[in-house]
């Protein structure tokens, strides 16, 4: 049994496997299938200052080796989370992280402040990369200036571990990552979904109510891996890698590319036990190759 513990800033994780926001609900939805306390961290659904109904149906389209979604941050707002959901999940024996989203800098700050008061939430993931909302969201994550602005403001208001989730829908993700690092982020996670679309040729109509949506699943993995490698070479803060991880080998590839932890998203829909399989698979890999700790493989890609 290798040592699977890893750190994201001050956040200590029993293993490097987390669940990606919006794909695992609040964890409870999966507790019939697995012991969710075995997971390194659960990042709950994107949370905003006020209740959001999200986008109209249809919000999802299956695509080759992946899917598009356009949920649009449906959630009941941070106060509902604090009053009704947090009490139910706070004693789960794992790290519970909240994905914080917003339309304005003030919204992000206000939500982060409220979440910051919750004892059992050791970190937030600041979502500056949601492609499915009209205002804010990805708009903050696609320029260095706006990304730095929102991260600086949240940094002042939030003292615990601050992870910033980056958008792949940019020309140079490493520059955004550096801007976010300079603004005080403890870590960056990447990638959020890639903007895409799907069309029903027979009906001559888009498959999503919003026309465009965010692409995830196995098909995005090579892009995500490339971006994690570029970003981990550009910043000193730890990187959390996600995008198309379907199994332990995929996760190990992200660790080798420089990620200190990974998130599993869309794969949860296909196999609700995938997180446990990935944790066990990483351990088996480390044992097989004689590594004592998962930290021994982080960023250990041999390029020569």
């Amino acid at each position: 049994m290798a040592d699977l513990t890893t750190n994201i800033g001050n956040l200590v994780m029993k293993n490097p496997v987390m669940t990606a926001s919006g794909t695992f609900g609040y964890g409870e939805e999966f507790s019939d299938f697995i012991d969710i306390s075995r997971i390194g961290g659960i990042i709950v659904k994107g949370t905003t200052i006020k209740h959001r109904e999200g986008n109209p149906y249809p919000r999802m389209a299956e695509t080759p080796s992946g899917m598009l979604n356009a949920v649009g941050l449906q959630n009941k707002g941070v106060d509902y989370f604090i009053d009704h959901i947090y009490p139910r999940i706070k004693d789960t024996d794992t790290n519970i992280l909240v994905n914080v989203s917003g339309s304005t800098v003030e919204d992000y700050v206000a939500t982060a402040e409220k979440v910051g008061e919750l004892d059992k939430i050791p970190a937030i993931e600041l979502n500056i990369s949601c492609p499915n909302v009209k205002e804010g969201g990805m708009a903050f994550g696609t320029s260095c200036e706006s990304a730095a602005k929102v991260v600086s403001a949240v940094r002042k208001a939030y003292k615990k571990t601050l992870i910033v989730k980056l958008s792949p829908n940019v020309t140079n993700i490493a520059e955004i990552a550096m801007a976010v690092e300079g603004a005080g982020a403890d870590s960056v996670s990447l990638i959020n979904t890639i903007m895409g679309m799907a069309i029903d040729a027979e009906k001559r109509k888009p498959l999503l109510s919003t026309i465009t949506g965010g692409l995830s699943g196995a098909c995005v993995k090579p892009i995500a891996l490339r971006m994690v490698w570029q970003v981990s070479n550009a910043v000193k803060i730890p990187v959390v890698g996600l995008g198309g991880i379907m199994n332990a080998t995929d996760a190990i590839e992200f660790l080798l590319a420089g990620a200190s932890a990974v998130e599993i998203g869309t794969a949860n829909f296909i196999d609700p036990t995938v997180t446990i399989k990935v944790i066990d698979g990483i351990n088996a890999y480390l044992d097989k190759h004689g590594f004592k700790s998962v930290k021994d493989i982080i960023g250990q890609l041999e390029t020569k």
Binding site: E53, Y57, T63, I270
Partner: protein, 257 residues
């Protein structure tokens, strides 16, 4: 209700008339408890264009044979792959998912179960459950043509069966809402089928002040209320068809009927 992730064994996979299969799955263990209206998320292997699980209604649970039945319309690569499975093959299912039809209240005696096309699937298990409670439900089954009328013998075990076909090849001609049986008085209607049909049935129920439940089948990803992809608009906002549904009372839906 506790959900399970099970590897079940194909005990039968019969091609029915039209473009449908009746798949029967079994296990060495007793199959979990399931309720009428619930569904399974079925993994489809070896189909490169099928990424997500397929939500499939529970058609029937044969407790004597320990079999779970799915009635499946072959619409794409995924369902065609399911049709190729042979006796002894393994199918991975998440089951049981979603809510269920509610049993009638004391004053609701005359029950009408309306199914259209492959939407008849959950009506068999519902009919069996109602018969088991002492009701004698009326089934009204609609299809395009005779070959799309499935499982009629099975339905006849549990109640009286009426049919409509659009081409008059069997039963009365037209849509279910044209059938003469609707001149009788019903206390509760359950329906599942194409959305236009369910809306027409809902409109009939609303007009005649009849309690009515519909089973929706929006496109889904997770099946457990985590991804919020399959929502429908209700009087309480967007709700997940997979976890708050698939069964909704029409008074809670914001259908324009």
């Amino acid at each position: 209700m506790r959900k399970y992730l099970l590897d079940l064994t194909v005990s039968g996979n019969e091609k029915l008339s039209g473009n449908y299969i009746l798949m029967k799955l079994t296990s060495e263990e007793r199959l979990p408890d399931m309720l009428p209206g619930q569904f399974a998320e079925v993994r489809v292997d070896n189909s490169p264009s099928t990424f997500l699980r397929r939500p499939i209604s529970i058609h029937f649970v044969d407790r004597d044979a320990n079999e779970l039945w799915f009635l499946i319309q072959l619409v794409g690569d995924g369902t065609r792959k399911l049709a190729e499975l042979k006796k002894g093959d393994i199918v991975n299912v998440m089951v049981p998912l979603g809510n269920s039809f509610t049993m009638p209240s004391l004053e609701q005696q005359e029950l009408l179960l309306v199914g259209g096309g492959v939407g008849i699937a959950p009506m068999l298990m519902l009919g069996a459950a109602l018969r088991n409670l002492g009701y004698y439900p009326t089934f009204l089954i609609g299809a395009r043509t005779k070959k799309d009328l499935l499982q009629l013998d099975a339905f006849e075990n549990y109640g009286k069966v009426y049919m409509t076909t659009e081409d008059a090849s069997c039963g009365e001609k037209g849509f279910v809402t044209n059938h003469s049986i609707l001149t009788q008085k019903f206390d509760k209607i359950y329906t599942c089928g194409p959305t236009p049909m369910m809306k027409a049935v809902a409109a009939y129920a609303a007009k005649n002040n009849i309690d009515c439940e519909v089973s929706l089948e929006n496109k889904m990803a997770c099946g457990v209320g985590a991804c919020l992809c399959c929502v429908t608009d209700t009087t309480e906002g967007h709700k997940c068809v997979c976890s708050d549904g698939p069964v909704f009372n029409i008074k809670d839906l914001k259908w324009q009927i």
